[in-house]
């Protein structure tokens, strides 16, 4: 069984396993996407983290329309539809929902959970939009409150040694993702973007130790297998959200002969570039890594750190173009998509294609035309 088959097999039985874990007294802690929740805190009190990353289906949006107007990012409307409809078992199995609030799209989800589903216990804390000493402190205060909440909720004290163990485990997972991502720089190894994304999505649902085994196996397979066969233009793929179930752009790029070699998304993918230090104040280390060290999403102000990062990785991964995939009504990404192409062109010479989605099947046709044209254009450069 190869790594991806092993992941699929694990996820097929995951809900059953979670049910059994609950019977054994473990709590399942659901949390909203965005990468601002330190899973280490959940693991340190013997609870199970489960990230809400499922989306991409337009029909789910209908379920949200009883709770919010349509002028919000479809990913977050999907989260509202999924939590209120009870249609997805991953959303029904959680005992507590933790929502790190980033922007107003996440806040509307938080309001919905708090007001419409009071029977589901929830905990919120804020993620500031700027990086300075006081915002770092504010974020840290949030995770300190979260730690207290988790300890009360699970009845397990998060001791230093428990936290060290969970940080170590999560560091290992992040390191493996970094390894997989980095070996794509050279172009020597055959790591498909869809596989990398599947692993990343899987890691947000899977048992942590099982996931680490799967990632190690994946790296071994990649190194043993034949080198890359696809010759298409190398593409950097970026945007606000890449949900599990939203593979439209990746599929079309592949069909059109392009090759995504790097993904940068704020929601849906696990941030993996940073390591949490194990010396000193561990809570401060978590805050530093999750808030300060991490390259910020587009809704931070200013967004220059992320834009500079895109320029850096576009060069490092030897890309021929950038596809900027934003979801409708996510204004931070929309505004940046106006002025960033000029900056990108000036600093790297690369072109950028902006795509937008509301998870509508009808988008595929026009999207394919645009992607085909983009790939043909960069092939010709």
């Amino acid at each position: 069984m190869n790594a991806l088959e092993k992941l699929n097999a694990h996820l097929e039985t995951r809900l059953t396993e979670l049910g059994k874990a609950k019977e054994r007294g473990h709590k399942v802690i659901g949390y909203s996407a965005g990468g601002y929740l330190p899973e280490e805190l959940i693991l340190a009190c013997d609870a199970i983290p489960l990230c809400f990353i499922r989306s991409g289906n337009n029909s789910v949006l209908k379920d949200s329309s009883s709770y919010v107007c349509r002028w919000f990012d479809p990913f977050w409307r999907s989260q509202i539809g999924l939590i209120t409809s009870g249609k997805d078992p991953y959303y029904n199995i959680v005992d507590l929902i933790v929502i790190p609030i980033t922007d107003n799209h996440v806040r509307v989800f938080s309001n919905t959970v708090g007001y419409y589903t009071p029977e589901i216990e929830s905990f919120v804390f804020g993620v500031p939009h700027v990086k300075d000493k006081i915002s770092l402190d504010y974020y840290q205060q949030g995770i300190v409150r979260l730690r207290k909440k988790l300890e009360e909720y699970t009845g397990i004290e998060i001791t230093k040694s428990r936290l060290e163990q969970s940080i170590d485990l999560c560091n290992k997972e992040r390191e493996l993702f970094r390894t997989i991502s980095s070996i794509r720089k050279s172009g020597e190894f055959n790591v498909k973007s869809r596989d990398f994304v599947a692993l990343n999505h899987g890691s947000l649902l899977a048992d942590k130790e099982t996931m680490i085994d799967i990632l190690e196996l994946f790296i071994k397979e990649v190194k043993e297998n034949a080198s890359i066969s696809q010759e298409g233009p190398r593409i950097l793929f970026t945007g606000s959200t890449l949900a599990q179930g939203d593979s439209k752009v990746m599929d079309i790029v592949s069909d059109c002969g392009g090759m995504i070699v790097m993904e940068e998304f704020a929601e849906g993918l696990r941030p993996y570039w940073d390591t949490v230090k194990l010396e000193g104040d561990l809570i401060a280390n978590l805050a530093e890594s999750y808030f300060w060290d991490r390259v910020c999403p587009g809704w931070f102000r200013p967004g220059t750190e992320r834009l500079d990062f895109l320029i850096k990785i576009a060069k490092e991964y030897n890309t021929a173009g950038l596809i900027w995939y934003q979801l409708m009504y996510r204004e931070s990404y929309k505004v940046e998509s106006y002025f960033f192409p000029g900056i990108l062109k000036k600093k790297t010479g690369l072109p950028m294609l902006v795509l937008e989605s509301e998870y509508d099947a009808a988008e595929s046709g026009p999207m394919k035309t645009r992607i085909e044209t983009f790939i043909e254009t960069i092939k010709g450069d």
């Binding site: 609030i101 806040r107 509307v108 938080s110 804020g126 500031p128 939009h129 006081i134 949030g142």
Partner: protein, 465 residues
């Protein structure tokens, strides 16, 4: 001899001597805005059609907006240091900057354009289109206030600011659009950050961390403003700006008192001009507006004494979120259907109804932040819906027209909750109305009429038994 614009300016409360004094500035402003003799007839017709110009206070209010427009358009030529902030915004920082130096012009220019180029001259569309062409395209539910601001700058109608105060505690779009202006024109920004992260059910409680964070961000932004603008904000700046704006708040309390009357003595169209002026101007506009308000409230007290009003006695009383900033026809629509509007959410929440503070903070930023958390507007959705609820008895309401702005995410969060919450807690009917409050091209009065008329008929039937 009169010039072509004298009649309009007199209609808008200018004294003849004032027009003479301002003449060269008026002409310089109109040249930049491409306003000429051909625009006067329509402007006068609109002013007479939409505003109660029999009231001197209303005429003076219109004049206050025109004065703010002139000061805005000429600020660069007049060597002012220009600071823009977004709307809505916590007003304290802007007021403090304005109070610190005569050479600093601090304003929300989009609101000024809406109320003058929109309400008076009906020439807002080309400005919005320029905003759409410069980074804020249509079809994406982007803020039309920001389209006006970016469009006004792109067309050279309003100056590029020297500094921007970004409302990062409320609006994601605003801060990003400030980034856009920086990318296009290199404007330095201070982001006043905050996070609306209280859990549903906590209000009126809030964590001291929220006050400390927002307060520290305000203090930090003021320090940056000092450096960028080369000014000194004196330790008593907050007290002085509070004193300066106290007459406005006092008048607001008087105004809310007269609006309790049945029939209500003035249209919500005029209330809108007041509420917006207080949120858009920190300089001459609001100073003149406060004087105008003094006259207006006095006139309204007389109307109340005489039992006069703008709607029939006994008309159902509804609270709305706010009036339309650029097209009074939409606001007028509510009264045309036979409803009276004694209060807007904005007017009430900006000082009309007292709030109880939680703690005694020392720094200006924390004092401002504590007030804003307690007041509810910048607290989050729960603070806002509870404000509506609290106004029910004070203003003897019969229902709510609870607008939500499709292109304003912080307000759109309230879209469904406010209706359910208010119906359940007050027992009153609620019309949830999707609008664009700053641009009437897609959400026109005609498009909204059927919904409002039907709601009005239902309220009348309910009230009359």
């Amino acid at each position: 001899m009169d010039n072509y614009y004298d009649s309009l300016f007199r209609l808008c409360g200018f004294e003849s001597a004032e027009i003479e004094e301002e003449r060269s500035r008026i002409e310089a402003t109109f040249e930049k805005l491409a306003i000429g003799p051909g625009d006067m007839d329509e402007a006068e017709i609109r002013v007479r059609q939409y505003h109660d110009v029999s009231l001197e206070g209303v005429r003076k209010l219109l004049g206050a907006w025109l004065k703010e427009l002139i000061d805005l358009v000429l600020a660069r030529e007049e060597r002012k240091k220009i600071v823009y902030y977004g709307f809505p915004a916590i007003l304290g920082p802007g007021l403090m900057l304005s109070a610190s130096s005569e050479n600093v012009f601090v304003s929300a220019p989009d609101m000024v354009l809406d109320h003058t180029m929109g309400q008076i001259f009906n020439k807002l569309t080309p400005i919005l289109e320029a905003g759409e062409a410069n980074g804020l395209p249509p079809g994406h539910a982007l803020c039309s206030l920001w389209q006006a601001k970016v469009g006004g700058i792109a067309k050279g109608m309003i100056p590029v600011p020297d500094f921007a105060l970004a409302s990062s505690y409320y609006c994601d779009m605003g801060s990003k659009a400030d980034d856009l202006v920086t990318a296009l024109y290199g404007v330095p920004i201070a982001y006043i950050d905050g996070v609306m992260d209280s859990k549903w059910g906590e209000y009126p409680g809030y964590l001291p961390e929220r006050v400390h964070y927002l307060g520290s961000q305000i203090n930090q932004a003021l320090e940056k403003a000092e450096k960028v603008l080369g000014i000194e904000i004196l330790p008593d700046a907050w007290e002085r700006s509070r004193k300066k704006s106290q007459p406005f708040r006092d008048n607001l309390t008087r105004l809310i008192e007269v609006m309790k009357a049945d029939p209500v003595p003035v249209s919500v169209v005029e209330l809108e001009m007041l509420e917006s002026l207080s949120g858009a101007s920190t300089g001459r506009g609001i100073r003149e507006g406060t004087k105008a308000m003094d006259i207006l409230v006095h006139e309204l007290e007389k109307r109340v004494e005489a039992g006069e009003g703008v709607t029939e006695k006994g008309a159902p009383r509804v609270m709305v979120r706010l009036g339309h900033t650029s097209d009074p026809k939409i606001t007028r629509l509510i009264e045309e259907t036979g409803l009276s509007v004694p209060l807007t959410f904005i007017l009430g929440s900006w000082g009309g109804i007292k709030v109880k503070l939680k703690s005694n903070y020392k720094t200006p930023g924390e004092i401002i932040a504590d007030y804003e958390m307690a007041a509810g507007y910048y607290y989050g959705t729960e603070g806002q819906v509870k404000f509506y609820e609290n106004a029910t008895k004070i203003m003897k309401l019969d229902g709510f027209i609870a607008q939500y702005l499709y292109n304003c995410r912080p307000v759109a969060t309230i879209s469904h909750i406010q209706k359910k919450y208010l119906e359940e807690t007050t027992g009153l009917p609620v019309l949830s109305l999707e609008i664009d409050n700053f641009d009437s091209r897609a959400y026109s009065a005609d498009a909204l009429r059927t919904k409002v008329e039907t709601f009005a008929e239902m309220l009348k039937a309910r009230k009359n038994g």
